[in-house]
Protein backbone atom coordinates (compact mmCIF):
# COMPACT_ATOMS: atom_id res chain seq x y z
CA UNK A 1 0.00 0.00 0.00
CA UNK A 2 2.79 2.37 1.03
CA UNK A 3 4.77 1.33 -2.03
CA UNK A 4 1.80 2.07 -4.28
CA UNK A 5 1.40 5.50 -2.70
CA UNK A 6 5.09 6.31 -3.22
CA UNK A 7 4.88 5.28 -6.88
CA UNK A 8 1.74 7.40 -7.35
CA UNK A 9 3.41 10.37 -5.65
CA UNK A 10 6.55 10.02 -7.80
CA UNK A 11 4.42 9.73 -10.94
CA UNK A 12 2.45 12.85 -10.00
CA UNK A 13 5.64 14.80 -9.29
CA UNK A 14 7.23 13.66 -12.56
CA UNK A 15 4.11 14.58 -14.53
CA UNK A 16 3.94 17.94 -12.83
CA UNK A 17 7.60 18.67 -13.50
CA UNK A 18 7.48 17.57 -17.13
CA UNK A 19 4.26 19.40 -17.91
CA UNK A 20 5.88 22.41 -16.33
CA UNK A 21 8.24 22.44 -19.31
CA UNK A 22 5.34 23.61 -21.37
CA UNK A 23 4.62 26.46 -19.06
CA UNK A 24 8.18 27.62 -18.25
CA UNK A 25 7.68 30.05 -21.05
CA UNK A 26 5.88 33.31 -20.18
CA UNK A 27 2.40 33.19 -21.68
CA UNK A 28 1.41 36.67 -20.67
CA UNK A 29 0.59 39.24 -23.32
CA UNK A 30 3.18 41.84 -24.15
CA UNK A 31 2.38 45.46 -24.93
CA UNK A 32 4.36 48.42 -26.23
CA UNK A 33 2.65 51.73 -26.58
CA UNK A 34 3.35 55.37 -27.25
CA UNK A 35 0.39 57.70 -27.57
CA UNK A 36 0.11 61.26 -28.82
CA UNK A 37 -2.09 62.21 -25.88
CA UNK A 38 0.48 61.05 -23.30
CA UNK A 39 3.23 62.86 -25.19
CA UNK A 40 1.47 66.14 -25.87
CA UNK A 41 -0.73 66.33 -22.77
CA UNK A 42 1.26 64.69 -19.97
CA UNK A 43 -0.11 64.51 -16.41
CA UNK A 44 -3.63 64.92 -17.70
CA UNK A 45 -3.12 68.41 -19.12
CA UNK A 46 -6.25 69.58 -20.89
CA UNK A 47 -5.99 70.65 -24.53
CA UNK A 48 -6.38 74.40 -24.97
CA UNK A 49 -9.30 74.87 -27.30
CA UNK A 50 -8.62 78.20 -29.00
CA UNK A 51 -10.70 78.60 -32.17
CA UNK A 52 -7.83 79.34 -34.55
CA UNK A 53 -7.45 78.62 -38.23
CA UNK A 54 -3.94 77.31 -38.89
CA UNK A 55 -1.90 79.11 -41.52
CA UNK A 56 0.07 76.76 -43.78
CA UNK A 57 2.91 78.35 -45.70
CA UNK A 58 3.56 76.42 -48.91
CA UNK A 59 5.74 74.65 -49.72
CA UNK A 60 5.67 73.02 -46.31
CA UNK A 61 8.63 71.69 -44.38
CA UNK A 62 7.40 68.56 -42.63
CA UNK A 63 8.93 66.66 -39.71
CA UNK A 64 8.12 63.03 -38.98
CA UNK A 65 8.79 61.14 -35.76
CA UNK A 66 7.65 58.27 -33.56
CA UNK A 67 6.03 59.44 -30.35
CA UNK A 68 8.46 58.72 -27.50
CA UNK A 69 6.93 55.90 -25.46
CA UNK A 70 7.78 54.35 -22.15
CA UNK A 71 8.48 50.95 -23.67
CA UNK A 72 9.79 50.66 -27.19
CA UNK A 73 12.37 47.95 -26.88
CA UNK A 74 11.97 45.97 -30.06
CA UNK A 75 12.79 48.46 -32.76
CA UNK A 76 16.28 49.87 -32.91
CA UNK A 77 16.76 53.52 -33.86
CA UNK A 78 17.99 52.35 -37.27
CA UNK A 79 14.81 50.32 -37.85
CA UNK A 80 12.62 53.24 -36.76
CA UNK A 81 14.58 55.50 -39.09
CA UNK A 82 14.01 53.03 -41.94
CA UNK A 83 10.25 52.97 -41.31
CA UNK A 84 10.05 56.76 -41.16
CA UNK A 85 12.06 57.01 -44.36
CA UNK A 86 9.52 54.79 -46.12
CA UNK A 87 6.81 57.31 -45.29
CA UNK A 88 9.13 60.13 -46.27
CA UNK A 89 9.80 58.70 -49.73
CA UNK A 90 6.07 58.09 -50.30
CA UNK A 91 5.32 61.80 -49.85
CA UNK A 92 8.58 63.52 -50.80
CA UNK A 93 7.62 64.32 -54.39
CA UNK A 94 4.53 66.39 -53.54
CA UNK A 95 4.93 69.87 -54.99
CA UNK A 96 3.53 71.51 -51.85
CA UNK A 97 6.14 69.80 -49.64
CA UNK A 98 9.62 71.25 -49.90
CA UNK A 99 11.28 68.84 -47.45
CA UNK A 100 10.47 66.01 -45.06
CA UNK A 101 12.82 65.70 -42.09
CA UNK A 102 13.04 62.50 -40.05
CA UNK A 103 13.27 63.49 -36.38
CA UNK A 104 15.20 60.88 -34.36
CA UNK A 105 13.69 59.68 -31.07
CA UNK A 106 16.53 61.26 -29.10
CA UNK A 107 15.16 64.71 -29.89
CA UNK A 108 11.76 64.02 -28.31
CA UNK A 109 11.20 63.53 -24.59
CA UNK A 110 8.47 61.24 -23.18
CA UNK A 111 5.70 63.50 -21.91
CA UNK A 112 7.49 66.50 -23.39
CA UNK A 113 4.29 68.20 -24.56
CA UNK A 114 4.01 70.90 -27.19
CA UNK A 115 7.03 72.71 -25.73
CA UNK A 116 9.23 69.77 -26.62
CA UNK A 117 7.55 69.44 -30.03
CA UNK A 118 8.19 73.14 -30.75
CA UNK A 119 11.85 72.76 -29.74
CA UNK A 120 12.30 69.84 -32.14
CA UNK A 121 10.40 71.67 -34.90
CA UNK A 122 12.67 74.71 -34.51
CA UNK A 123 15.77 72.51 -34.49
CA UNK A 124 14.74 70.77 -37.72
CA UNK A 125 13.17 73.91 -39.20
CA UNK A 126 9.78 72.32 -39.92
CA UNK A 127 6.28 73.86 -39.94
CA UNK A 128 4.26 70.70 -39.58
CA UNK A 129 5.06 67.51 -37.64
CA UNK A 130 3.62 64.06 -38.26
CA UNK A 131 3.66 62.11 -34.99
CA UNK A 132 3.37 58.35 -35.20
CA UNK A 133 1.79 56.81 -32.14
CA UNK A 134 1.78 53.04 -31.82
CA UNK A 135 0.08 50.34 -29.85
CA UNK A 136 1.30 46.79 -30.23
CA UNK A 137 -0.08 43.87 -28.28
CA UNK A 138 1.29 40.35 -28.48
CA UNK A 139 -0.71 37.38 -27.18
CA UNK A 140 1.12 34.11 -26.53
CA UNK A 141 -0.47 30.67 -26.27
CA UNK A 142 0.60 27.05 -26.29
CA UNK A 143 -1.10 24.62 -28.61
CA UNK A 144 -1.60 20.84 -28.25
CA UNK A 145 1.74 20.14 -29.87
CA UNK A 146 3.43 21.66 -26.83
CA UNK A 147 2.82 18.34 -25.06
CA UNK A 148 5.71 17.05 -27.13
CA UNK A 149 8.01 19.44 -25.23
CA UNK A 150 8.09 16.61 -22.68
CA UNK A 151 10.43 14.84 -25.00
CA UNK A 152 12.96 17.73 -24.64
CA UNK A 153 13.81 17.36 -28.35
CA UNK A 154 10.29 18.58 -29.06
CA UNK A 155 11.16 21.95 -27.52
CA UNK A 156 13.64 22.41 -30.37
CA UNK A 157 11.62 20.97 -33.23
CA UNK A 158 7.90 21.26 -32.57
CA UNK A 159 5.98 24.51 -33.10
CA UNK A 160 4.13 24.25 -29.82
CA UNK A 161 3.93 27.93 -29.00
CA UNK A 162 2.01 30.48 -30.99
CA UNK A 163 1.86 34.24 -31.03
CA UNK A 164 -0.65 36.79 -32.28
CA UNK A 165 0.80 40.29 -32.77
CA UNK A 166 -1.66 43.15 -33.33
CA UNK A 167 -0.16 46.49 -34.28
CA UNK A 168 -1.74 49.90 -34.72
CA UNK A 169 0.29 52.85 -35.97
CA UNK A 170 -1.55 56.15 -36.06
CA UNK A 171 -0.18 59.23 -37.83
CA UNK A 172 -1.35 62.59 -36.47
CA UNK A 173 -0.33 65.66 -38.43
CA UNK A 174 0.06 68.78 -36.29
CA UNK A 175 0.61 72.38 -37.27
CA UNK A 176 3.28 73.30 -34.74
CA UNK A 177 2.58 77.03 -34.55
CA UNK A 178 -1.17 76.82 -33.95
CA UNK A 179 -0.90 73.40 -32.20
CA UNK A 180 -3.86 72.24 -34.30
CA UNK A 181 -4.37 68.66 -35.38
CA UNK A 182 -4.75 68.89 -39.17
CA UNK A 183 -5.65 65.29 -39.91
CA UNK A 184 -4.86 61.73 -38.89
CA UNK A 185 -4.69 58.29 -40.46
CA UNK A 186 -4.32 54.76 -39.04
CA UNK A 187 -2.36 51.74 -40.21
CA UNK A 188 -2.90 48.27 -38.77
CA UNK A 189 -1.49 44.78 -39.02
CA UNK A 190 -2.05 41.38 -37.50
CA UNK A 191 0.58 38.67 -37.60
CA UNK A 192 0.00 35.13 -36.36
CA UNK A 193 2.66 32.47 -36.14
CA UNK A 194 4.11 29.64 -34.15
CA UNK A 195 7.54 28.39 -33.21
CA UNK A 196 9.34 25.84 -31.03
CA UNK A 197 9.82 26.91 -27.44
CA UNK A 198 13.53 27.59 -27.68
CA UNK A 199 13.12 29.85 -30.71
CA UNK A 200 9.96 31.57 -29.52
CA UNK A 201 11.62 34.71 -28.25
CA UNK A 202 13.48 35.29 -31.53
CA UNK A 203 10.47 34.46 -33.74
CA UNK A 204 8.06 36.65 -31.83
CA UNK A 205 10.53 39.56 -31.83
CA UNK A 206 10.80 39.27 -35.63
CA UNK A 207 6.99 39.19 -35.83
CA UNK A 208 6.76 42.36 -33.75
CA UNK A 209 9.20 44.12 -36.11
CA UNK A 210 7.30 42.82 -39.12
CA UNK A 211 4.07 44.02 -37.48
CA UNK A 212 5.39 47.59 -37.45
CA UNK A 213 6.56 47.24 -41.03
CA UNK A 214 3.16 45.99 -42.25
CA UNK A 215 1.31 48.64 -40.25
CA UNK A 216 3.41 51.35 -41.93
CA UNK A 217 2.61 49.81 -45.34
CA UNK A 218 -1.08 49.99 -44.48
CA UNK A 219 -0.69 53.52 -43.10
CA UNK A 220 0.82 55.11 -46.25
CA UNK A 221 -2.26 54.83 -48.53
CA UNK A 222 -4.53 55.86 -45.64
CA UNK A 223 -2.39 58.92 -44.98
CA UNK A 224 -2.45 59.78 -48.67
CA UNK A 225 -6.25 59.48 -48.68
CA UNK A 226 -6.59 61.70 -45.62
CA UNK A 227 -4.20 64.24 -47.15
CA UNK A 228 -6.40 64.45 -50.25
CA UNK A 229 -9.50 64.81 -48.05
CA UNK A 230 -7.75 67.56 -46.08
CA UNK A 231 -6.94 69.42 -49.32
CA UNK A 232 -10.64 69.33 -50.24
CA UNK A 233 -11.59 70.53 -46.73
CA UNK A 234 -9.11 73.41 -47.03
CA UNK A 235 -10.77 74.48 -50.27
CA UNK A 236 -14.38 73.95 -49.27
CA UNK A 237 -14.51 74.35 -45.48
CA UNK A 238 -11.51 76.69 -45.08
CA UNK A 239 -10.09 74.56 -42.25
CA UNK A 240 -6.67 76.12 -42.88
CA UNK A 241 -5.38 79.27 -44.52
CA UNK A 242 -2.90 78.67 -47.34
CA UNK A 243 -0.11 81.18 -47.88
CA UNK A 244 2.48 80.72 -50.60
CA UNK A 245 6.10 81.41 -49.73
CA UNK A 246 7.90 83.67 -52.25
CA UNK A 247 8.95 81.72 -55.34
CA UNK A 248 6.77 78.70 -54.47
CA UNK A 249 4.46 78.91 -57.45
CA UNK A 250 7.41 78.65 -59.79
CA UNK A 251 9.26 75.66 -58.45
CA UNK A 252 7.07 72.88 -59.93
CA UNK A 253 5.81 73.34 -63.47
CA UNK A 254 4.14 71.36 -66.15
CA UNK A 255 4.29 71.51 -69.90
CA UNK A 256 0.58 71.46 -70.54
CA UNK A 257 -1.38 72.21 -73.70
CA UNK A 258 -4.39 73.25 -71.62
CA UNK A 259 -8.07 73.01 -72.44
CA UNK A 260 -7.99 76.19 -74.56
CA UNK A 261 -5.02 74.86 -76.55
CA UNK A 262 -6.72 71.51 -77.04
CA UNK A 263 -9.86 73.32 -78.15
CA UNK A 264 -7.95 75.33 -80.77
CA UNK A 265 -6.17 72.26 -82.08
CA UNK A 266 -9.42 70.28 -82.07
CA UNK A 267 -11.25 72.88 -84.17
CA UNK A 268 -8.29 73.10 -86.58
CA UNK A 269 -8.16 69.30 -86.86
CA UNK A 270 -11.90 69.14 -87.65
CA UNK A 271 -11.52 71.84 -90.31
CA UNK A 272 -8.55 69.94 -91.79
CA UNK A 273 -10.60 66.73 -91.89
CA UNK A 274 -13.48 68.54 -93.61
CA UNK A 275 -11.01 70.01 -96.12
CA UNK A 276 -9.59 66.57 -96.85
CA UNK A 277 -13.06 65.12 -97.43
CA UNK A 278 -13.95 67.94 -99.81
CA UNK A 279 -10.65 67.51 -101.62
CA UNK A 280 -10.84 63.69 -101.67
Amino acid sequence: MIRKSVVLLCATLALGTLSGCATWFDHNSRTQRGTVVEYLYPKGDKPILAPTVPELRLPLRVGIAFVPGERFGDLSEAERDQLLNRIKSAFANRPYISAIEVIPSAYLRAGGGFDNLEQAARMFNVDVVTLLSYDQVQFNDSNRLSLLYWTIVGAYLINGDQYDVNTLVDASVFDVKSRNLLFRAPGTSQIKGSSPMVKFSEASRAARSEGFSQAIDSLIPQLDKQLETFKVRVKEEKVARIVEKPGYSGSHRGGDTGLAGLGLIGVAALLALARQRRGG
Binding site: N93, R94, S251, R253, G255, D256, G258, G261, A268
Partner: protein
Protein backbone atom coordinates in the same frame (compact mmCIF):
# COMPACT_ATOMS: atom_id res chain seq x y z
CA UNK B 1 11.90 56.86 -95.62
CA UNK B 2 13.12 53.87 -93.58
CA UNK B 3 15.42 56.17 -91.62
CA UNK B 4 12.51 58.51 -90.92
CA UNK B 5 10.41 55.61 -89.61
CA UNK B 6 13.24 54.54 -87.33
CA UNK B 7 13.61 58.06 -85.97
CA UNK B 8 9.85 58.16 -85.37
CA UNK B 9 10.22 54.99 -83.33
CA UNK B 10 12.97 56.68 -81.30
CA UNK B 11 10.61 59.58 -80.49
CA UNK B 12 7.86 57.13 -79.56
CA UNK B 13 10.34 55.16 -77.45
CA UNK B 14 11.22 58.29 -75.49
CA UNK B 15 7.53 58.90 -74.72
CA UNK B 16 6.95 55.30 -73.62
CA UNK B 17 10.11 54.98 -71.52
CA UNK B 18 9.80 58.38 -69.84
CA UNK B 19 6.21 57.66 -68.80
CA UNK B 20 6.72 54.08 -67.65
CA UNK B 21 9.85 54.54 -65.54
CA UNK B 22 9.59 56.31 -62.14
CA UNK B 23 8.80 59.95 -62.89
CA UNK B 24 11.09 61.14 -60.08
CA UNK B 25 14.02 59.80 -62.07
CA UNK B 26 12.77 61.07 -65.41
CA UNK B 27 11.59 64.62 -64.71
CA UNK B 28 13.49 67.81 -65.44
CA UNK B 29 15.07 68.41 -62.04
CA UNK B 30 17.40 71.41 -61.99
CA UNK B 31 19.67 70.33 -59.09
CA UNK B 32 19.88 66.77 -60.44
CA UNK B 33 20.74 67.94 -63.97
CA UNK B 34 23.40 70.29 -62.63
CA UNK B 35 24.62 67.34 -60.55
CA UNK B 36 25.26 65.34 -63.73
CA UNK B 37 21.99 63.45 -64.40
CA UNK B 38 21.97 64.56 -68.01
CA UNK B 39 19.38 62.05 -69.26
CA UNK B 40 16.77 64.30 -67.62
CA UNK B 41 17.42 66.85 -70.39
CA UNK B 42 15.66 64.39 -72.71
CA UNK B 43 13.23 62.54 -70.47
CA UNK B 44 11.95 65.66 -68.64
CA UNK B 45 10.26 66.79 -71.84
CA UNK B 46 8.51 63.44 -72.32
CA UNK B 47 7.38 62.43 -68.80
CA UNK B 48 4.18 63.78 -67.22
CA UNK B 49 2.60 64.66 -63.89
CA UNK B 50 -0.49 62.48 -64.45
CA UNK B 51 -2.23 60.30 -67.02
CA UNK B 52 -4.65 63.15 -67.76
CA UNK B 53 -1.70 65.45 -68.40
CA UNK B 54 -0.16 62.89 -70.79
CA UNK B 55 -3.49 62.27 -72.53
CA UNK B 56 -3.98 66.02 -73.12
CA UNK B 57 -0.58 66.42 -74.75
CA UNK B 58 -0.91 63.27 -76.88
CA UNK B 59 -4.34 64.46 -78.05
CA UNK B 60 -2.74 67.77 -79.04
CA UNK B 61 -0.09 65.95 -81.13
CA UNK B 62 -2.78 63.83 -82.80
CA UNK B 63 -4.75 66.99 -83.66
CA UNK B 64 -1.66 68.70 -85.08
CA UNK B 65 -0.89 65.59 -87.16
CA UNK B 66 -4.38 65.86 -88.68
CA UNK B 67 -3.83 69.53 -89.52
CA UNK B 68 -0.35 69.10 -91.00
CA UNK B 69 -0.86 65.73 -92.64
CA UNK B 70 1.98 63.35 -93.45
CA UNK B 71 4.72 66.02 -93.58
CA UNK B 72 4.41 66.30 -89.76
CA UNK B 73 6.60 63.16 -89.63
CA UNK B 74 9.75 65.13 -90.40
CA UNK B 75 8.88 67.37 -87.43
CA UNK B 76 8.16 64.45 -85.13
CA UNK B 77 11.56 62.89 -85.80
CA UNK B 78 13.11 66.12 -84.53
CA UNK B 79 11.59 65.70 -81.05
CA UNK B 80 14.49 63.72 -79.51
CA UNK B 81 16.90 66.40 -80.79
CA UNK B 82 14.71 69.32 -79.74
CA UNK B 83 14.03 67.95 -76.21
CA UNK B 84 17.52 68.60 -74.73
CA UNK B 85 17.72 71.98 -76.48
CA UNK B 86 14.41 72.98 -74.90
CA UNK B 87 15.62 71.75 -71.49
CA UNK B 88 18.80 73.83 -71.86
CA UNK B 89 16.63 76.82 -72.82
CA UNK B 90 14.59 76.32 -69.62
CA UNK B 91 17.74 75.89 -67.53
CA UNK B 92 19.03 79.20 -68.82
CA UNK B 93 15.84 81.26 -68.80
CA UNK B 94 13.80 79.97 -65.85
CA UNK B 95 16.09 79.69 -62.81
CA UNK B 96 13.16 79.55 -60.34
CA UNK B 97 11.79 76.38 -61.94
CA UNK B 98 13.22 73.31 -60.22
CA UNK B 99 10.90 70.54 -61.46
CA UNK B 100 9.28 70.24 -64.85
CA UNK B 101 7.41 67.52 -66.71
CA UNK B 102 5.49 67.73 -69.95
CA UNK B 103 5.47 67.51 -73.69
CA UNK B 104 3.75 70.80 -74.43
CA UNK B 105 6.98 72.69 -75.14
CA UNK B 106 7.56 70.25 -77.98
CA UNK B 107 3.86 70.51 -78.92
CA UNK B 108 4.50 74.26 -79.39
CA UNK B 109 7.28 73.35 -81.81
CA UNK B 110 4.84 71.14 -83.72
CA UNK B 111 2.38 74.07 -83.91
CA UNK B 112 4.99 75.80 -86.09
CA UNK B 113 5.16 72.56 -88.07
CA UNK B 114 1.39 72.67 -88.54
CA UNK B 115 1.66 76.30 -89.73
CA UNK B 116 4.35 75.37 -92.27
CA UNK B 117 2.77 72.14 -93.49
CA UNK B 118 -0.95 72.69 -92.87
CA UNK B 119 -1.79 75.55 -95.21
CA UNK B 120 -4.28 78.25 -94.21
CA UNK B 121 -5.78 76.24 -91.35
CA UNK B 122 -2.29 75.66 -89.95
CA UNK B 123 -1.49 79.37 -90.13
CA UNK B 124 -4.72 80.40 -88.43
CA UNK B 125 -4.09 77.80 -85.72
CA UNK B 126 -0.55 79.11 -85.12
CA UNK B 127 -1.75 82.72 -84.85
CA UNK B 128 -4.53 81.71 -82.42
CA UNK B 129 -2.00 79.64 -80.44
CA UNK B 130 0.34 82.62 -80.10
CA UNK B 131 -2.63 84.72 -78.95
CA UNK B 132 -3.45 82.11 -76.30
CA UNK B 133 0.20 81.99 -75.23
CA UNK B 134 0.27 85.77 -74.80
CA UNK B 135 -2.89 85.56 -72.69
CA UNK B 136 -1.32 82.78 -70.56
CA UNK B 137 1.83 84.85 -69.97
CA UNK B 138 -0.14 87.76 -68.54
CA UNK B 139 -2.98 85.91 -66.81
CA UNK B 140 -1.24 82.75 -65.58
CA UNK B 141 -4.45 80.75 -66.03
CA UNK B 142 -4.26 77.43 -64.10
CA UNK B 143 -4.81 74.27 -66.11
CA UNK B 144 -7.35 71.65 -64.98
CA UNK B 145 -5.20 69.01 -66.67
CA UNK B 146 -2.40 69.54 -64.13
CA UNK B 147 -2.44 68.35 -60.50
CA UNK B 148 -2.78 70.87 -57.65
CA UNK B 149 0.29 72.99 -57.06
CA UNK B 150 1.70 72.56 -60.57
CA UNK B 151 1.80 75.70 -62.69
CA UNK B 152 1.78 75.72 -66.50
CA UNK B 153 5.17 76.70 -67.87
CA UNK B 154 4.60 79.26 -70.64
CA UNK B 155 8.39 79.53 -70.93
CA UNK B 156 8.53 76.02 -72.39
CA UNK B 157 5.90 77.05 -74.98
CA UNK B 158 7.97 80.10 -75.96
CA UNK B 159 11.07 77.88 -76.18
CA UNK B 160 9.16 75.36 -78.29
CA UNK B 161 7.95 78.07 -80.67
CA UNK B 162 11.52 79.37 -81.07
CA UNK B 163 12.79 75.84 -81.75
CA UNK B 164 9.96 75.43 -84.24
CA UNK B 165 10.99 78.59 -86.08
CA UNK B 166 14.59 77.32 -86.11
CA UNK B 167 13.45 73.97 -87.52
CA UNK B 168 11.27 75.71 -90.13
CA UNK B 169 14.28 77.78 -91.24
CA UNK B 170 16.38 74.60 -91.42
CA UNK B 171 13.81 72.74 -93.50
CA UNK B 172 13.43 75.73 -95.82
CA UNK B 173 17.19 75.93 -96.32
CA UNK B 174 17.38 72.19 -96.99
CA UNK B 175 14.45 72.34 -99.43
CA UNK B 176 15.99 75.24 -101.41
CA UNK B 177 19.40 73.50 -101.59
CA UNK B 178 17.87 70.23 -102.79
CA UNK B 179 18.80 69.74 -106.47
CA UNK B 180 15.64 69.87 -108.53
CA UNK B 181 15.06 66.85 -110.72
CA UNK B 182 14.97 67.50 -114.42
Amino acid sequence: MVAENRLLLVALGFIVVANLLPADLMEFNRPAILGGQLWRLWTGQFCHWSTLHLAGNLAAIAGLALVAGKPICRWLVLLPVAAPLLSLFLLATTPEMEHYRGLSGLVAMLVVGAAVEGGTIGWILAIAWIGKLTFDIFSGTPSPLLPDGIVTSWQSHVGGLLLGLLAAAGFRLRDTRKPSRP
